[in-house]
Symmetry: C2
Subunit: 556 residues, 2 copies
């Protein structure tokens, strides 16, 4: 930083920078921000506000400030892009899963590595559904095929099983020039879409699936945002509203904020294991209709962050509700293999829709989403996913296809991986036994950890926790004493953020406050993943228990 | 399709569907649309227009139509999402590179495969910069490392070179749980960003680069759209305008349409080998200021679709212009290794900016974009890329980091590949010679084909073609006889679309009409890639020559 710059850094600027860092930052990069704050290369912020700058400058065309001379005569231009002149919808976006608490966790990790003394020896991150990062091993077969596709010379290597090779050959054959380096069709590789369609047919007991209704995506997030993008229109009272569950996965609120759509909250019933409540849906819709045009209903099943698995009856009711109220259904079903609780079963919206007969299956518009990132494979980094769209207007579908073509195609390795997920080794193939063994092991460990989490947390006075029926998360309710609520408010923090931040500083455990997902006013929660290894999970749960007891004592 | 549905298909509906297919469709999937048109599962379009539906229904709350009974008593709901009720900005999006001509090319390919007789034996696609699809081979080292990262068991395989292994170990070490299946930091893997920064420093003769200014992206497209998203604000006369070259790469117009920003055209000077003209920039800007707020200037160098390489002087002039006029600079530099013409050299905007001294390098806001998809590697399918942002306001940067966190992370295999591109084998390492040999071979073949394309096309009366100094495209100007222009207009087609469609039908050659990129009124062009193998390129060029002569005769 030049001396000139340094002199211009006023306390206000430093405060603004801190704000940027602590309140707005949501990335998780280890070095992302800290050093940058200390090595400013931009002009001081006081001159980057057009309002301020204008007062000291002769305004030019259209009121755009241009240059001014700083004290030492060096020209210092006002920034074109400032917090005041940037896209206002982007500013409204929030994403708690990678928010300030994660940033602090990374700082603590760095400090530990640098030898700083802490009341803990390691940071345990249970903030994000990132299975491999928590030690889950990839499925061998999947990775073998990906290696073969990446470097086809390996097709001559006799150590690779034949079924992996034939799968790789089939994928490569579907790629331009037999290379994963070619763009695919924007909708996704044709043979992969065919495999997805067959998978859905098997999953749904034979309900037909047309490969032309499948769009491969860059993770499920991409598909969800694309669908929401199609749905948004109107202004003011006719602006599109989208119903989302509260608690929700914050991708939904972030996308709606960015698109300028109206977020319409419906609350899940915590008392009934986070089930959907028809009367609550109706209340939410009726209220929303007074100020916007609700057009879509989003459901996450199995639930994120709440870990519930909706019953078949509930899904049928929701479909009937959507049909009656003319709502486009969006079913986020990325945890479809993550069902642990006895008596629970995954029912796809598509299957239930078709079982309800043509009155529904011919008319209700549905988009459902799946991903390579969750279930037993947990391959988040490959950004694979698909969506199936049902009963979409043909002209809209043409627009959708056009829209996705602008970004050319989803990553081809992610498409290949999606193909393997929907078309894994079959009985009789050389890799079958190993595949089943690996899949079963991962899912049964997850089921154990789901049970363990519920059990331990429910032994703590002031924490109550629904069963983790599915997905990868527990979302327990926590009692926060009045004194702590007050202290948090005084600090300008949400009480559960205050709680989680304190937990992190004292124990090294990184959870996400419930306020990042939404919750009923006056209630507090946190989301924790069940992904740490069983040993670490036990440590984590005991530390949470101790912390909660201590915290409660301290503030009562 | 049910009989009921079939009966409801009126000629109007069929026409609408055709419109969807021929004018709106822009995907490139082989099976994408054709079969679907014949297997409608949605209600007829005449009932999906709310206006029409309303007239026959008792309007419900907020005027939303609900259900009606069709003739046989089956309930048939009006669609929630129709062409009339979808996001209007999405409808405005166009993307010629995967437009109707490509769709037709795929149909022709299918027809040929089915044994249908055509006046050609194969379809030659020169519509998209998709090198591997046209037979270019991947760099062995890159693919070895990707295979090692995908299936780390291979680290024990002695047939892989040590430098590939050490590179793979370093990448894996930077991944959570040592797996590419983990999410990375949203800004990208830290070690990759460090390697990118060192690459930029080497490329730019030592101009410093901070890894915190690097954001890894899902191809360059992702970075460009993200930057544009930050810049858009205001309404009416204060709406953000973005200056783009004409001809342009249609990602820009598509993104601006989707974001509702104002596209501000400046024309490249075809007479001076598609150079940028300062007086034209000024004209464009001054005109735009009458109706919007131009805030950014986009430059593609080397040029797409026009293949020029801007001179250092030109870049300096452009930077001075941007500084004077308070414009945020966006430099699309994805073809930075694709420079063929003698006397031409790639100059990065960053380097020139810093050579201009602190008056500029401390103030001008610049984002530059790179990708794994072009240059000598041509790895489009992996969707790797990065952007470097310079002089961005710190608060805006925090917002950018937050925004990218919502989508979690760019695909990790693409990040790994980007790492290899910026940190390829070094002299003395086992893979170095092979890497240099492969890279040189690819680039010199491209240089030959650039020359060949220019030479052959310029022998055709009625075609004139600037030298292909860089990138992967030629954008020749074609003379279209008045009679052909009239026939095209009568058909509601752009004359160069008419020309290219005819070329495709008669020769099997797939090019993109100039109208998809923008051109001066009354001029016509096409874009062709120089990517087909030399043999095929010769065939292609001769066929274009013959076709043009015949076409000219026919219509004069």
């Amino acid at each position: 930083m030049s001396a000139t710059r340094m002199q211009l850094l006023s306390p206000r600027n430093v405060r603004l920078l801190s704000r940027g860092r602590n309140e707005l930052f949501a990335g998780s990069s280890g070095v992302g921000y800290g050093p940058r704050v200390c090595s400013l290369t931009s002009p001081p912020l006081s001159s980057s506000s057009p309002g301020r700058a204008l007062s000291s400058l002769s305004a030019t065309r259209r009121g755009l400030p241009k240059e001014k001379m700083s004290e030492n005569g060096v020209s210092s231009r006002t920034k074109v892009l400032t917090i005041d002149t940037m896209n206002p919808t982007v500013k409204k976006v929030e994403y708690a899963v990678r928010g300030p608490i994660v940033q602090r966790a990374l700082e603590l990790e760095r400090e530990l590595n640098e030898g700083m003394k802490k009341p803990f020896v390691e940071v345990i991150k249970a903030n994000i559904g990132d299975a491999h990062a928590m030690g889950q091993q990839p499925i061998t077969f999947f990775r073998q095929v990906l290696a073969l596709c990446s470097y086809p010379e390996l097709l001559n290597d006799s150590t690779f099983p034949e079924d992996a090779k034939s799968r790789a050959r089939r994928i490569l054959h579907s790629c331009g020039g037999n290379s994963m380096g070619s763009y695919s069709a924007s909708q996704g590789i044709e043979s992969v879409r065919q495999d997805v369609a067959r998978y859905i047919e098997r999953r749904d007991g034979g309900v037909p699936c047309n490969p032309n209704d499948i769009y491969l995506t860059t993770g499920a997030s991409d598909g969800i945002v694309t669908m929401l993008k199609l749905l948004v229109c109107g202004e003011g009272e006719t602006r599109t509203g989208v119903m989302i569950s509260i608690p929700q996965y914050p991708l939904y609120s972030a996308a709606l904020a960015e698109l300028g759509a109206v977020q319409v909250n419906y609350y899940l019933n915590e008392e009934k294991c986070w089930s959907m409540d028809l009367s609550e849906l109706q209340r939410s819709l009726d209220e929303a209709r007074r100020h916007c045009n609700p057009r879509a209903l989003c459901v996450i099943n199995p639930g994120n962050p709440t870990g519930q698995v909706q019953s078949r009856q509930c899904i049928e009711d929701v479909i009937r509700f959507a049909a009656r109220e003319s709502l486009f259904l969006m079913a986020d079903e990325v945890y479809q293999d993550n069902v642990y609780a006895e008596g629970c079963q995954f029912h796809s919206f598509k299957k239930v829709l078709f079982e309800m007969g043509p009155e529904y299956s011919d008319t209700v518009e549905l988009a459902s989403f799946h991903s390579t990132s969750k279930c037993y494979m947990g391959e988040c980094g490959f950004r694979g996913g698909y969506m199936e769209i049902i009963n979409m207007d043909e002209e809209v579908k043409a627009q959708l296809t056009k829209l996705v073509s602008v970004r050319l195609c989803p990553p081809v390795p992610g498409q290949a991986l999606m193909d393997l997920v929907v078309n894994p080794p079959q009985s009789g193939e050389p890799s079958y036994d190993k595949f089943i063994k690996e899949r079963t092991a991962t899912l049964s460990v997850l089921a154990e950890k789901a049970k363990l989490t519920e059990q331990v947390l429910n032994t703590v006075k002031g924490i109550s926790c629904n069963p983790v029926q599915g997905a990868m998360y527990s979302f327990p309710r926590i009692t926060i004493p009045e004194k702590a609520v007050k202290e948090a408010r005084d600090k300008g923090q949400q009480p559960d953020m205050f709680y989680c931040m304190k937990l992190l500083e004292e124990t090294g455990i990184c959870l996400v406050p419930g306020s990042g997902f939404g919750q009923r006013d006056g209630t507090y929660h946190f989301r924790m993943t069940i992904l740490p290894s069983t040993d670490k999970l036990k440590i984590l749960l005991n530390k949470v228990k101790e912390f909660h007891q201590k915290f409660t004592e301290q503030y009562s």
